[in-house]
Amino acid sequence: MGFDYEKYIRPGKLPHIWCPGCGHGIVMKGLIRAIDALSLDKDKTAIVSGIGCASRLPGYMDFCTLHTTHGRGVAFATGIKMARPEMNVLCVGGDGDGVAIGGNHFIHACRRNIDMTYLIMNNNIYGMTGGQFSPTTPFGAKASTTPYGNPDPPFDIAKLAIGAGATFVARGTAFHAAQIEKLLIEAIRHKGFSVVEILDSCPTTYGRRNKFKSVVEMMNQLKESAVPVAAAEKMSPEQLEGKVLTGVLYKENKPEYVAEYGKLVTRVQESMAG
């Protein structure tokens, strides 16, 4: 018997709605294997999302799940963690949901260092709504709203998270499927706000407009552009041109928000009583 993914999926939910070749399914499998490896209790794990293709993920997962408003997944997840600190809180979403519409929630959750894991599936486009350009659409790439090429430089989600104060930041790709699981295990174990960005493929609304003949070509591009952090240290800036670093990019230990908030409540209560 191979790995039983369906143990963690709501009965009757497969096949999922994602397009042929969409990497979200690969990421979801990585997440399921990570959850299995950590033996997370279904009733003590909340998976929260906003709106978008990637945000359909919690609908399939047999856990405590919440499908919320666009970009606000992190805000709802923060509420769950504050009210029920014993729960494992995972937030999932796409690039448009996470760093455009939910950009503000994202940076402030990073700043607070609240203990949760935010999995961002970055496919460089708003897939569900018809292929509009997102803040991670590469410069010059075509989208339905940039038919002559995108004039905006893209966000680097990992750098944005590090700059905003996230204490664990990692990046992987949908091609490197086994690594997704390892990164997520480390991220979920980390006490603090952990961000895992997975570079993904959207053959339907991004690939077709940008001269990718098939999803296989998109996967090959992910394979060729990814450079593990350790390997990058030995490479020159010229060799790293056009490459993306993968692996654990940043990690530090800092006071965690829920614990600090608890201490504040105790301190104030004691000062009032005394």
Binding site: M1, G2, Y5, H24, I26
Partner: protein
């Protein structure tokens, strides 16, 4: 002792025909038949699990 051959199972109704498994199998075990991936050459399987890991549609399972 004879080596046990890995068993590859494909759930046809889940497969969306994206070609990922066929293209990235290092020993060309799989092929496309119409819109579905099928096992063409099971004896060549080395149980590297790459098809199972990369199948976005939960359609392939490999048992070592």
């Amino acid at each position: 002792m004879e080596k046990k051959q890995p068993e590859i199972k494909i759930i046809e109704k889940y497969c969306k025909g994206c070609h990922i498994c066929v293209e990235f199998c290092p020993t060309q075990v799989l092929e496309m038949r119409g819109f579905t991936a099928v096992v063409k050459n099971p004896d060549a399987c080395i149980a590297c699990m790459q098809c199972e890991l990369r199948c976005p549609d939960f359609a392939i399972s490999v048992t070592k």
